[in-house]
Amino acid sequence: MSRSTHVAGPRAIAARVAAPTLIAIGYADLARGGTLLAPLALVIGYVVLVPLAMFAD
């Protein structure tokens, strides 16, 4: 394993920042009663960005 020497690339970093941000925005809008932004943010966050954050180099 080259765990200690690995440096995440910009795509991975972007996904790792964007995923929790978008999910947080989604839940905040949901709590506000939103029915448009909330589902969009949560779907993109959970289905696209989290997997990308996990897989991207």
Partner: protein, 746 residues
């Protein structure tokens, strides 16, 4: 293990070809896609998606979010858009089965186009197996989203099996864990791939289990995947139109204290664990295991030739035997040629077939073995629970067919004559041809029209008591998605036995009746808008109503001119349930204030409450009158059926749209719900009988013919032959909540 050593280039997945295959499958699904909703749970889930609501437990938060996003597409109606989600998910799965098949074939077929053809065959066969196809062209539930997760996890696991130890392999495994968790928030079936993944890990790289950092990461990822369940209490606190289980402690508005309360946790866990349904212990078998396996086989036969009217039983049986044999052959080939992926796929097929049959522990299927009488049956055919089984089996069946092709090609000449022997592949296209008519939902409008017809049978601001899925969910769809007759309050008895449903009825706003949208017969009259909720009880009083009352003697219910003897012996459980108490409460509170109806799909309910002398048939519903009815004038007593409001029913009939939709479709594939077309036929025959009694012979003949046309289109004419000419079976079946402590049936 492998007779052909595939090179790295040969094992490289053909993602582009898989994508094109998936697009081809999507085109097939779009060509056969339902333009609107359908019976059973389709309406509930489309409504949940559109309103961002909570469908029945476990609440399926991921599906609701995906469905809501799909409903925002800029074309088609809402139902069409959500149906497209189902189609796209299944098409994605088909594309992935292409990749899985290609990988196995690469180990023993060297000819590129042969491999490619075999892979397409696997995709097409899995896409056209009846249940997969039929579920992919209308979003009946959440199962095609599950299928997509199932396929994606499968492919990632196959990739992991090939990947050398290292960072990338670890990431794949963590991603698999995340997707299993996320898939669970769509449906518990998301965990079905778990045992197969565990087997692959154990067999391929058991050392993995000793790497605690990796295992901890996978567990964390799984937990992260489960977090969409947080959607439920947050959204539920806003009390959307569909708020099943009401997984929130917030009574009126969202707040931190009530959201993070014990009540919220208790209700959320009750939803997630589906406590409402009180599933029996696995050791308490609901039918013999052999009968449960028989149910799987019954639906397996449907996959290759759906024969809803039993006209081609021998051919259907022969095809099932063929595809069973091909699947077994494909499994053997998989084992012999590509052991690496077999260690995932083999356990997967086992899990979604034998293990799932045992776990689901079903009663006899609704249509299974009709010759077996006196056994408890599921309210409907549950073939959709084996969608994953049939989909995966199709991959093996395609591999088996390619194996047969190879044998024929090798025997046809000194070098394999693939092209000359390719016609054998036509067997793989038989489901495409044989299932088209039954699987296609193109042009299917009957459910939407049925909902509209029922709602329009109710006078403005009326209360309608319904009994189950098919007389309730389509109405929810019509009201909440299409805005049809929202002034009507629909109250379904099966859910009135829960605590949350009645609270939702109290919260429901009173919507103004729009005369322009209603039937002509209600126009030009004054319809005062009620100002009070449908029940006079407070929430505390509602919550205090017990699940049932230990009352075994007949009781008098008296209100206005109604003197009904409620005889518990006529009630389903021998005592009045919470739902019976609430129905009588609503009747008491609204007699003379709002019109009160009971759907004809559950007509025996009025009788069981002792209300038979007071109910008057008006179209598809029966109206509870404030005094005992007598025949005369517009009211005709139809022998064996009760009182019929002739002019009202005739006027409504003229505006009903479902009969034409049923006749245009020319079939009614789902037999357990065929009571719906039967209700139209019954209505037409009642009108014909009334016209006969009134001496209007020509009118009687015309109505009779219209009823027969519907029955013929739905293939139910046999229900109207003989002495019981107008008493078809009801079609309201539902998975009634059983979590409350209901008394033993008498």
């Amino acid at each position: 293990m492998m007779t052909t050593s595939a090179t790295a280039a040969e094992l490289r997945p053909s993602y582009r070809a898989a994508g094109l295959t998936a697009l081809g499958v999507l085109a097939l699904y779009v060509a056969t896609l339902a333009p609107s909703t359908a019976m059973w749970d389709a309406s509930e889930y489309i409504t949940a998606a559109y309103t961002l609501g909570i469908p029945h437990p476990p609440g399926n938060p991921l599906f609701v979010l995906l469905g809501r996003v799909a409903s925002l597409l800029p074309f088609g109606g809402v139902a069409y858009r959500v149906n497209l989600l189902a189609a796209a998910c299944s098409a994605l799965a088909a594309g992935i089965w292409f990749l899985v098949a290609e990988r196995v074939l690469a180990q023993w077929i060297t000819v590129h186009w042969v491999r490619r053809t075999g892979s397409v065959l696997a995709a097409v066969l899995s896409a056209t197996a009846f249940t997969v196809w039929n579920q992919s062209v209308v979003n009946e539930k959440v199962y095609t989203v599950s299928l997509a997760f199932f396929a994606v996890v499968s492919w990632l696991t196959v990739l992991w099996c090939d990947e050398p130890d290292g960072r990338r392999a670890d990431r794949i495994l963590v991603l698999v864990a995340y997707l299993i968790g996320l898939g669970y928030t769509n449906h518990p079936a998301g965990f079905l791939v778990g045992p197969a993944v565990a087997t692959a890990v154990l067999v391929r790289r058991p050392r993995t289990l000793l790497r605690w950092r990796l295992i901890a990461s996978a567990v964390l990822a799984l937990g992260l995947g489960l977090t969409p369940f947080a959607f439920e209490p947050i959204r539920a606190a806003h009390h959307p139109a569909l708020n099943e289980g009401e997984p929130t402690g917030c009574s009126d508005r969202i707040a931190v204290a009530c959201t993070f309360s014990d009540t919220t946790v208790r209700r959320l866990m009750a939803n997630v664990n589906r406590e409402q349904y009180g599933k029996p212990n696995l050791s308490d078998r609901q039918a013999p295991f052999s009968a449960q396996l028989g149910m799987w086989w019954w639906y397996f036969k449907w996959q290759w030739l759906r024969d809803p009217h039993g006209l081609q039983g021998a051919l259907q049986g022969a095809l099932a035997a063929l595809f069973l044999a091909l699947g077994i052959a494909g499994g053997v080939v998989h084992w012999r040629r590509d052991r690496a992926s077999f260690w995932f796929f083999g356990p997967l097929v086992f899990t979604v077939t034998f293990a799932l049959v045992y776990y689901m522990n079903f009663k006899y299927g609704a249509s299974q073995s009709p010759e077996v009488v006196g056994v408890e049956r599921e309210v409907r055919d549950r073939d959709y629970f084996y969608l994953w089984s049939f989909s995966a089996w199709s991959v093996w069946a395609a591999l088996g067919l390619v194996a047969v092709w190879r044998i024929l090609a090798e025997r046809a000449g000194r070098t394999p004559r693939w092209l000359a022997t390719a016609p054998v592949l036509v067997f793989g296209l038989l489901p495409l041809v044989g299932n088209w008519r039954a699987a296609s939902r193109a042009g299917e409008w009957a459910t939407r029209e049925w909902a509209r017809d029922v709602l329009n049978s109710v006078e403005p601001y009326g209360i309608l008591i319904t009994g189950g899925d098919n007389d309730t969910f389509p109405l929810w769809y019509a009201q909440e998605v299409e805005g049809v007759r929202r002034d009507v309050t629909v109250a379904v008895t099966s859910l009135l036995n829960t605590d949350w449903y009645a609270r939702g009825l109290l919260r429901r706003p009173i919507y103004r009746y729009d005369e322009r949208e209603g039937p002509h017969i209600y126009r030009g009259r004054s319809w005062p808008m009620p100002t009070r909720p449908v029940m006079s009880l407070t929430r505390a009083q509602l919550d205090a109503i017990p699940d049932y009352v230990e009352l075994r003697e007949p009781q008098l219910f008296e209100q206005g001119g109604i003197r009904a003897i409620v005889d518990p012996r006529r009630l389903e459980f021998g005592v009045p349930l919470r739902s019976d108490i609430l129905v009588l409460q609503m009747l008491k509170d609204n007699l003379g204030v709002r019109p009160f109806y009971i759907s004809r799909t559950t007509a025996s309910y009025a009788e069981s409450l002792g209300l038979a002398p007071y109910v008057l048939v008006q179209g598809l519903v029966t109206r509870v009158s404030p005094a005992a009815l007598v025949a005369g004038g517009d009211t005709v007593a139809v022998p064996g059926l009760g009182f019929l409001d002739v002019p009202r029913t005739a006027a409504l009939w003229r505006e009903y749209r479902a009969p034409a939709a049923i006749i245009r479709r020319g079939d009614w594939v789902d037999r357990p719900s065929a009571g719906i077309p039967a209700l139209y036929t019954t209505t037409a025959l009642m009108l014909a009988q009334a016209a006969d009694l009134q001496g209007r012979t020509a009118e009687a003949e015309k109505m009779r013919q219209q009823g027969i046309d519907v029955a013929e289109a739905a293939h139910i004419t046999e229900w109207f032959v003989g002495p019981a000419t107008t008493a078809p079976p009801p079609a309201t079946g539902s998975d009634a909540p059983r979590g409350s402590a209901l008394p033993a049936r008498p």
